[in-house]
């Protein structure tokens, strides 16, 4: 294969866009709450990727700092989210997102 084409920042951004889109579709389509949370993680990763790519392009370390914080907060978010899921699914085993429509109205 030729090494002529060097992936530019734009390629990374496009890839991040695709990943983000896939994550969005996943959130909308899947019903299992755990998998929906995983798709949210996909979206976060897409964003992190684009931050890192641009940070490299611009020579600014601030992008990577941002990614650092995003990861921390994502971790905390997953913790809380899973705690909630545990609390709910203990009462209603095998519940899907569609079954949790208590706030209908």
């Amino acid at each position: 294969m030729t090494a002529a084409a060097v992936p530019t920042t734009t390629w990374y951004l496009v890839l991040a866009a695709v990943l983000f889109g896939i994550g969005t579709v996943g959130v909308l389509v899947r019903r299992n709450p755990l998998i929906m949370l995983m798709c949210v993680e996909l979206m976060l990763n897409a964003v992190n990727l684009s931050f890192v790519a641009l940070s490299h392009q611009m020579g600014d370390i601030g992008g990577q700092t941002t990614v650092f914080f995003v990861m921390v907060v994502a971790a905390a978010e997953v913790v809380v989210g899973l705690g909630i899921i545990v609390a709910i699914l203990r009462r209603k085993p095998n519940a899907t997102a569609d079954d949790l429509a208590e706030l209908k109205g």
Binding site: V27, L28, A97, L100, A101, K104
Partner: protein
């Protein structure tokens, strides 16, 4: 003394308040004496003010006494003020004077009635309203009194409200008055718009500079109000039915005072009427004389003792409007005063007859009462002669003044007035004969009613006779206030001149006077021939007894097309107006119901919505903002 003018309405107001609070405790007859005392005290104050005014030169006889500022709204500044001038004091004199006499009479008449105190409560309220009406310095105070007397009329006509006819009559009176009130209100609006004030001094002062159409409008709309209040065609139909009320009510309200309010109003705004285009007074005079004739024809065929007098009142009021229309305002006021005397006398006399016949009102069941009720009969006969226009009784002088003024305007009006005078003499004589002369027809009737032992009509108690005698005296000598012989004897004319002007007339008075007397005597003679000597058949056709079917026509219209119209309006209000409001509520509810489904409770739906929003925002930023 002039500063005490506020006492005149305040005394009946105090009577009203005291009877309101203590009426039941005072009871029969103390409440009545209290009310009479208040009315008499007001009369005394009025007399004092009268002499006070008399002592002043004639240019200084107009005073405004301001109680307080009533409606200060922007450019409309209306005070509760009293206008003391010859016209208002004249009205106050006979309102309080005749009123006090009727109060006294009512103590005897209403004796034994379970709601005795309430009657005097209303009577005092009426006196208050009437005095506000005549003393008012501006149209709004007059209107306040106007509505007040209308209300009291309703309250008093339907006093015996257990009787369905009485309740209906009360409603009819009030509603018909209301139709007239619409005219009064429009007159007020026009007056305010044209002159910026509702005060009579302001309006009358601006009358000469007003546009003629404005003056005509004010005059005609005020006349509509007067037609309602003073029972002229086409709004007279409440007055005959108003006889359902107790007789003192009929005497006070529907003979002496309230019904004259319309004439008073037209006289009050006489400068405006003078400035109006000529068809306005023409219209007033024509309606007056036609009503007079119309009512007189109906009175000929009535058998209820009070109905005859009711139609007679309508007829005499027609005379007063004839005078107003002919420009002879003083003559109208003069006739108003003499009419107050003799009509009140006639009503009170008929009340005495009814009272002593145990509430029998049909004249066909009376007769030969002269010997059994001598005082009543004598006073009634005086009243009869006065109304028939026989000199030297009061009615002759006032009616003659009016006929003279009518001739000056148009001989046709005079002729119609003369025919009415003939009919007046005729039907009043008929009434006197049927009630006091002839054979006693009440024996058989009373057996039908269930005998109360041996029924014998008797004379009234003294308390009821005193007013009759006083009024009879006044009916005899009342003419003296305006004898037409020369300027000195025409006291009323010169007294009222600063307010009402003078009606100049070149016509010779004597021939007309003689013609009037001849006509009166002719009417009396004809009636005696028919009813006493039975030389000819009485002419009392059905359509006259039914009032030319006017009442039936109005009821038919109102019940038929009228009701259809009202139902249509009510339907419009319920369905379209209410429907629109309810419709908005429905739409909101429906929209809300449908919007509610957006909240499905489902996270994925919300996520989808958020996603769509994100795409749209992104599109805007990338495409629209990006391209700049």
């Amino acid at each position: 003394m002039l500063d005490l003018v506020w006492l005149i309405p305040a005394l009946p107001l105090a009577g009203f308040a005291l009877i309101l609070l203590f009426g039941r405790r005072l009871g029969d007859p103390k409440a009545g004496y209290l009310a009479t005392l208040m009315c008499s005290a007001a009369f005394v104050v009025t007399v004092g003010i009268y002499f006070d005014l008399l002592s002043k030169p004639s240019e200084e006889r107009q005073h405004v006494y301001r109680l307080f500022s009533w409606v200060p709204v922007g450019s409309l500044k209306v005070d509760l003020s009293f206008l003391v001038d010859p016209l208002s004091i004249t009205m106050c004199l006979f309102v309080t004077g005749v009123g006090a006499l009727i109060h006294l009479y009512a103590i005897g008449y209403m004796h034994g009635d379970p709601r005795f105190s309430k009657f005097f409560l209303y009577l005092n309220l009426f006196a208050l309203s009437m005095l506000l009406l005549v003393l008012g310095e501006n149209m709004l105070v007059t209107f306040l009194g106007w509505e007040g007397v209308g209300t009291c009329s309703y309250l008093l006509i339907s006093f015996w409200h257990e009787r369905a006819t009485a309740a209906t009559a009360g409603k009819k009176a009030f509603i018909t008055n209301r139709v007239g009130d619409w005219g009064f209100m429009l007159a007020m609006f026009f007056a305010f718009q044209a002159t910026g004030t509702l005060s009579y001094i302001g309006i009358n002062g601006a009358a000469s500079t007003m546009a003629q159409t404005t003056a005509t409008a004010i005059a005609l709309f005020a006349f509509i109000g007067a037609v309602g209040k003073s029972a002229q065609l086409p709004l007279y139909l409440w007055l005959p039915d108003a006889m359902e009320g107790p007789t003192p009510v009929s005497a006070l309200i529907h003979a002496a005072t309230m019904v004259t309010a319309g004439v008073f109003l037209m006289c009050r705004i006489s400068p405006v009427l003078n400035a109006a285009s000529s068809y306005a007074p023409n219209l007033i005079a024509i309606i007056g004389v036609v009503t007079a004739l119309f009512a007189a024809t109906i009175a000929v065929a009535q058998n209820d003792i009070k109905r005859v007098l009711a139609y007679s009142t309508v007829s005499q009021l027609g005379y007063m409007f004839l005078a107003v229309g002919s420009g002879a305002y003083t003559a109208a006021i003069f006739h108003m005063i003499t009419h107050a005397f003799f009509k009140a006398l006639l009503f009170l006399g008929s009340g005495a007859v009814i009272h002593n016949m145990h509430h029998e009102q049909d004249m066909r069941r009376m007769g030969a009462l002269r010997k059994l009720m001598p005082v009543t009969a004598a006073t009634f006969i005086v009243g009869w002669l006065a109304i028939a226009g026989v000199p030297p009784f009061a009615g002759f002088w006032s009616k003659d003044d009016i006929l003279l003024a009518a001739y000056d305007k148009s001989p046709v009006l005079w002729a119609l007035g003369l025919i009415t005078a003939l009919l007046t003499a005729y039907y009043m004589t008929r009434q006197v004969i049927m009630v006091f002369y002839g054979e006693a027809r009440w024996h058989d009737a009373h057996e039908e009613h269930g005998a109360h032992g041996d029924f014998e009509p008797h004379e009234s108690p003294t308390i009821m006779l005193i007013p009759l005698v006083v009024l009879a005296v006044l009916s005899v000598i009342g003419g003296v206030i305006n004898l037409p012989f020369n300027a000195t004897t025409e006291r009323l004319t010169s007294w009222l001149e600063p307010v009402l002007g003078v009606h100049e007339s070149d016509t010779a008075k004597l021939p007309f006077a003689l013609i009037a007397v001849a006509i009166a005597l002719l009417g009396i003679a004809a009636s005696i021939m028919i009813y006493s000597k039975h030389k000819a058949k009485p002419v009392e056709p059905e359509f006259l007894a039914e009032g030319w079917y006017y009442d039936a026509a109005v009821s038919g219209f109102m019940g038929g097309p009228g009701r259809a119209g009202f139902n249509a309006i009510a339907w419009f209000d319920a369905n379209i107006v209410d429907g629109a409001v309810n419709g908005i509520a429905h739409v909101v509810r429906g929209t809300a119901q449908r919007l509610r489904t957006v909240q499905s409770g489902n996270v994925r739906n919300y996520a989808a919505a958020i996603g769509v929003g994100v795409v749209l925002l992104l599109a805007w930023f990338v495409i629209v903002r990006g391209s700049r």
